[in-house]
Amino acid sequence: MAESAPATHDDHHEPSGLIKYIWSTDHKIIGMQYLFTGMFMALVGGFFAYAFRMQLAFPGVDIPGWGTMTPPDYNALVTNHGTIMIFWVAMPVLIAAFGNFLIPLMIGCDDMVFPRLNRLSYQVFLLSTIILLASFFVPGGAFGGAWTAYPPLSAQSTYNLTPWGAPLWLLAVALEFAAFLMGGINFITTTMNSRAPGMKMHDIPLVVWMIVLASIIFMLSVGPLFAGAIMLFFDQVLGTGFFDPNRGGDPVLWQHMFWFFGHPEVYVVLLPAMGIVAEIITVFARKKFFAYTPVLYTTFAAGVASFTVWAHHQFIAGIDPRMAHIFTVTTLLISVPIAVIVFCSIATLYGGSIRFKTPMLWALSFIFEFLLGGVTGIYLGAAGADVYFHDSYFVLAHFHYTFFPIAIIGTFAAITYWFPKMFGRHMNETLGKIHFVGTIIPFNLIFIPLFILGLAGQHRRIYSFSLFPDLAKPEFQDLRVFATVSLLVMLAFQFVFLFNFFSSMIKGRKAEKNPYDANTLEWTTESPPPHGNWSELPSVYRGPYEYSVPGRADDFWPQNEPS
């Protein structure tokens, strides 16, 4: 499906063929490249989930499309499912694809300030993708030491038994970071320097702010992990002992480096998704965003606070137990800024005139599902409760209730909303709603059983529970089967989306400039926008959310319309 994507949409943009497309510096094309690569990787990550969930529900079965699963297979699939969904789906789609596509269009400029750096960013990202996928075809197979890659397991091939897979995995992740640093530099610089005349800081749409803040958080947090990745790479291939206790190293050091990045990373992907939701609910509720300025500053605060919570991933990892109190408090406190953003999104609906179009359904379901992910995080932030829940399916269900809304629901919201602008055509609304229902309901039916299994003490990354009498009861297995069948249903409904996506691209109803009567600047140019975006660059006269202003006949007021 998506494999054929680049060829399918190539002819829409650059008449001079594939080479021109690959070497384009146009931010919209680079955004599409990230989008299609991310969608392809989502299929890979989804296929992995299918394969290992089949093993869990029907241990030892001959899995269609995979075959019989061995323990090394299982570990490699679990590891790379997590790695792919975060680094090769959530980040490229939410930040890179939509950041690239939207930032110049929403701030009213013709392209990124460093277009060639932007192109290099995608090319390095593509290289990292190829390396990651190649790691499945090397002697020993792909890395299977979890996406957190804790040494000594990840550091020494005598332990992980993947002499090629582990360094390739690490190399791919490090290159991916480099790609996103280049992209992030562009997002921040472009937003600060290239806004349309008249666009003040408080006139910038929230989604742009969120992507910029995410890029800043990423830049500030990735340094230690990048250093750690190089140290780990040296441990793997040069035989150094940074993380080897037998030679004076410390394996727990890696955990600090990883989670000092890893927790801010949650916000790196969360913020763009929240920004997408903010854009959509204002348009479909015909409402000004509730408390724009406080929300913006709260988000800054959340970004800063996200650097102070990392050790809540390490409560039982052998850190000084007295430290746990501090990290419990910071973790509980970070619930406050996130609650502000969620509450203000809900408050925006108050007094609205809500239209339940497909993008709006996704945006509302984001809030609905993310709330459960948010509140279940409190259990894990409280160190005492975390002793029981750590590394259980409760944790797994919790973060899927955050990451699924972020990476999947947020992406579907964004794609269905900006599709007319990206491709100049509308998606089919009926198919969109079928896909929505067929995704959201099974999603809950997958992960609610996993919450129950986690409460019952089921631990993570286990190939088969048959050796654990307390977990091998038939009732437990019934829930595992139920979750897997729900996953199969959800995956089946994704073909509805793929069909809708590609068929609408070719023969969907033609989209006008501003099909939703929205205010932000991307809706003032053609659909799709030409190279250079506007024939005459727009000026800005007001904020992005002036909907239903009293005394006006129209219920919207585009940012570029003179008063």
């Binding site: 038994l161 000004k288 408390a291 750590h390 990354r461 050796l467």
Partner: protein, 236 residues
């Protein structure tokens, strides 16, 4: 319906941890339902109807923002309650260790658990120590310290019925404690991925009455004695 999924609470701190879990459930559960009710209620009440225009609310007046700030103050209060309840529990489980009645050694490796129990002399590190693989024998109502170490990679020693979990780190010995409050045989898990055999290193904890435990120790001591004697005989 949920009966098969109930995990017994069999240590002196298990019910404390369950208490934190219940407190969090009540406090965050309340906010969860309030927020969902607002979300769903607004969606129904403010759905698009012909002739109705949306209101213009910027959310910059005090009368408007208090709908956010008051709930937030209450949430912070809830956070304080949770932190206050959680702190002492964590302290009890991980910081304060009561004097031990017995000490056992727990050694993790790819992919097995080795347990060293004191023999009839009640002392660890003497020739009558009882070493087992995959089987930890403890006596109910006795304070145990465990000395946890790893021979290779990270592992994690987890006993769900005790609500106990602690990572094992190569190069370190981490001491923890537990006191069982009921008898039976339950799973011990490794809860840190440790390689391809991560799912293949199960172990069981046997929590025994004093009589059962004494019988086990003496039985094992005799076996040990017999094997040492035969070993010596062989050497001679």
């Amino acid at each position: 319906m949920f009966e098969p999924f109930k995990v017994e609470a069999l240590s002196t701190f298990a019910s404390d941890i369950d208490g934190v879990i219940i407190l969090v459930t009540i406090l965050v559960g309340f906010w969860f339902f309030v927020a969902q009710a607002a979300l769903i209620g607004f969606c129904i009440h403010f759905r698009h109807r012909d002739g109705h225009k949306a209101q213009y609310i910027a959310g910059d007046k005090k009368s408007e923002t208090r709908w956010i700030t008051i709930p937030l103050a209450l949430i912070v209060t809830c956070d304080v309650f949770i932190a206050m309840a959680d702190g002492p529990v964590w302290k009890k489980v991980k910081e304060h260790r009561p004097e031990p009645d017995r000490i056992v050694r727990v050694i993790a490796q790819q992919w097995a658990w080795t347990f060293v129990h004191p023999g009839q002399d009640e002392k660890l590190g003497t020739p009558d120590d009882i070493t087992t693989t995959g089987d930890l024998h403890v006596e109910v109502n006795k304070v145990y310290h465990f000395e946890l170490s790893s021979r290779d990679v990270l592992h994690s020693f987890s006993v769900p019925v005790f609500r106990l979990k602690q990572d094992a780190i190569p190069g370190r010995t981490i001491v923890g404690w537990f006191e069982a409050t009921g008898t039976g045989t339950y799973d011990i898990q490794c809860t840190e991925i440790c390689g391809i055999g991560h799912g293949l290193m199960p172990a069981r904890i046997q929590i025994e009455t004093p009589e059962q435990h004494a019988a086990w120790v003496s039985e094992r001591s005799q076996t040990l004695l017999a094997s040492t004697t035969s070993l010596r005989a062989g050497q001679e």
